[in-house]
């Protein structure tokens, strides 16, 4: 029998000749997940490669074990991988001629690299904590996850796709990751990380929402400011390339965040662009802020951070989940892009991640959308950036790597 040489990916790629095959592949790997073979794990070397361990969110197989953190493709972009059990038919990372490749159904598709380990991963902080447990890395980004809890879960109103709290319980026990970081220690680790030439081009900060404070979320703002001020001590200029994913703050809170820190861009994830679904799937966000107010605050953030420095993120695919979601992908796409355009024309960009159903979540037993859906969504969001001339350099392949739509925007001159 002849060896198979084509896959379903080729069929989809043929329908979208304007979309690079690498982006279609990346999207599908995120959609279906990956399984690392024993041989692929066998070449993992913690001195050379980043290994899993510091994620704020969990994996699709629910396991915490030594695996490559994620993959680099030959166009320099990343695939943020979600290890997935083989019975769910994920892509496989296995070896070909001794090097890691992505396989689908036995067909070798692309050579990949494991993310390189940064120098600071081998060091410990002055308090004796491994530095990689305080700050983690992507190929060009320093990740700070200062608070691994989300207070929306206090009354069980966390987002229906989110496993931050169950991951904290696992990570806290098995990986000894502190739930809340000491800002001075974060500053110390960032200072050490920045000694590596040519490694990092952005500082990134995200945590769960903190509802407490004189006004709701003031405590979250205060904490971010403390951390960013410690980080800022390492830079000559008052502003440095940086991104925060935070709650939708009031304009007054955002002005403090901007004025008192070196922060240069702001992201606040609305998760789903539909008011009814937002209420059902993100009940904590709906309770404390609400869909319309969330959008309003995103737009107000443009006044603070400037055009092309504010965006929102979607967990794409949850809009199609039962029982509340859209019944048809066309309808979901049309509605989502119309809402994204409403934001885009007011200076707010929208990016998406492919929803990866996680076992410890209310939506964990459902499927994500079709590959066609994700490709059409990527094209649609990219087209809005072209139409409204919105730069996305703070959330692109270098700084995040998790958005097929912003990968497309790499070709834009702005």
């Amino acid at each position: 029998m002849a060896q198979k040489t084509t896959t379903k990916l080729d069929e989809v790629a043929a329908r979208y000749p304007d979309v690079p095959r690498l982006i279609i592949l990346k999207t599908d790997v995120q959609r279906r997940g990956v399984f690392y073979s024993d041989a692929a794990i066998g070449i993992l070397d913690e001195r050379l490669h980043q290994t899993t361990g510091t994620h704020i969110f969990g994996s699709r197989d629910g396991a915490l074990t030594l695996r490559p953190e994620s993959l680099l493709l030959r166009d320099g972009s990343s695939i943020i991988t979600t290890p997935t059990p083989p019975e769910e038919a994920p892509y496989t990372v296995d070896l070909k001629d001794g090097k890691p490749w992505l396989f689908d159904d036995g067909v070798a598709l692309e050579a990949v690299d494991y993310w390189p380990a940064p120098d600071f991963y081998s060091k410990t902080s002055s308090s004796g904590v491994p530095m990689k447990s305080i700050v983690s890395a992507r190929p060009q980004r320093l990740n700070i996850f200062p608070y691994r809890y989300c207070t929306f879960w206090n009354n069980n109103k966390g987002c229906a796709f989110c496993d931050i709290v169950s991951q904290l319980k696992k990570g806290g026990k098995e990986l000894n990751i502190p739930a809340k970081l000491d800002p001075r220690e974060v500053g110390e680790v960032v200072g050490e990380a920045l000694k590596e030439p040519g490694r990092f081009s952005a500082v990134f900060l995200t945590s769960g929402s903190i509802v407490s404070g004189t006004e709701p979320f003031d405590d979250e703002i205060d904490y971010y400011i403390q951390i960013l001020q410690e980080v800022g001590k390492h830079f000559k200029a008052s502003k440095f390339p940086s991104q925060i994913i935070g709650t939708a703050f009031t304009k007054k809170q955002l002005q403090r965040l901007y004025k008192e820190t070196g922060l240069m861009s702001y992201t606040s994830d609305i998760e789903v662009l539909n008011e009814e679904l937002f209420g059902k799937l993100c009940p904590g966000k709906a309770e404390w802020i609400g869909y319309r107010e969330w959008k309003k605050r995103l737009v107000e953030a443009v006044d603070v951070f400037g055009p092309g420095r504010v965006n929102t993120g979607l967990v794409a695919g949850i809009e199609l989940t039962k029982p509340y979601g859209f019944a048809a992908e066309n309808e979901a796409l049309e509605h989502t892009l119309a809402e994204a355009e409403d934001l885009a024309k007011q200076g707010v960009s929208t990016v998406f991640i492919v929803w990866s159903p996680r076992p410890d979540t209310p939506l964990g037993d459902q499927k994500n959308a079709s590959l066609d859906y994700y490709i059409r969504l990527a094209r649609g969001l990219h087209a809005l950036r072209v139409k409204y001339r919105l730069p996305i350099g703070y959330d692109d392949y270098r700084h995040c790597g998790n958005h097929p739509d912003s990968d497309l925007s790499r070709l834009l001159p702005y």
Binding site: R74, D75, D113, P116, P139, Q140, G198, R199, R398, Y414
Partner: protein
């Protein structure tokens, strides 16, 4: 067998020889720039160091990689046709070139280390091309050159 002759290797290594990289933009129009750091990599691929992320050349190289379009590099009288096969933005190889660039231009940044696989080398030196032309196309010669 390597496509890179010793003559070509010597030209690439000669810093006084200007190297020109030609890419295609979205409309298919050529765009030519100098590639001052052009060098030969560990496995005979050509290494172009792109300092600027949003340069026309960087975006064109990405388009070539994504959509399998060829590029051209001119070194002295030699023309190399090839294609970009990999973009390094992180890791030991990137760091090596990042440090190299900064020894030459202290405040420089480096966007991407492009690996370019040569597919064909054409010798465009006049004496060689003239001989080929006269052998293969004898009817294009001006007759006054052939008179006694």
């Amino acid at each position: 067998m390597s496509l890179l002759s010793q003559e070509l290797i010597d030209l690439i290594r000669n810093r006084s020889v200007i190297k020109v990289l030609v890419t295609l933009d979205e409309q298919g129009a050529p765009y030519a720039v100098r590639s001052p750091f052009l060098q030969i990599g560990d496995t005979d691929e050509l290494v172009h160091l792109e300092l600027l992320e949003k340069s026309e050349t960087n975006r064109n190289l990405l388009r070539s990689l994504w959509h399998e379009k060829k590029i051209v590099i001119s070194v002295g009288d030699l023309v190399i046709r090839g294609r970009p096969v990999k973009a390094h933005i992180s890791g030991p190889l990137f760091r090596q070139y990042y440090e190299q660039v900064r020894t030459v231009i202290p405040d420089a940044d480096l966007s991407t280390v492009w690996l370019i696989e040569p597919e064909e080398v054409v010798d465009e030196s006049y004496t060689i091309r003239k001989q080929q032309e006269e052998e293969q196309f004898p009817f294009s010669v001006h007759l006054d050159r052939l008179t006694v």
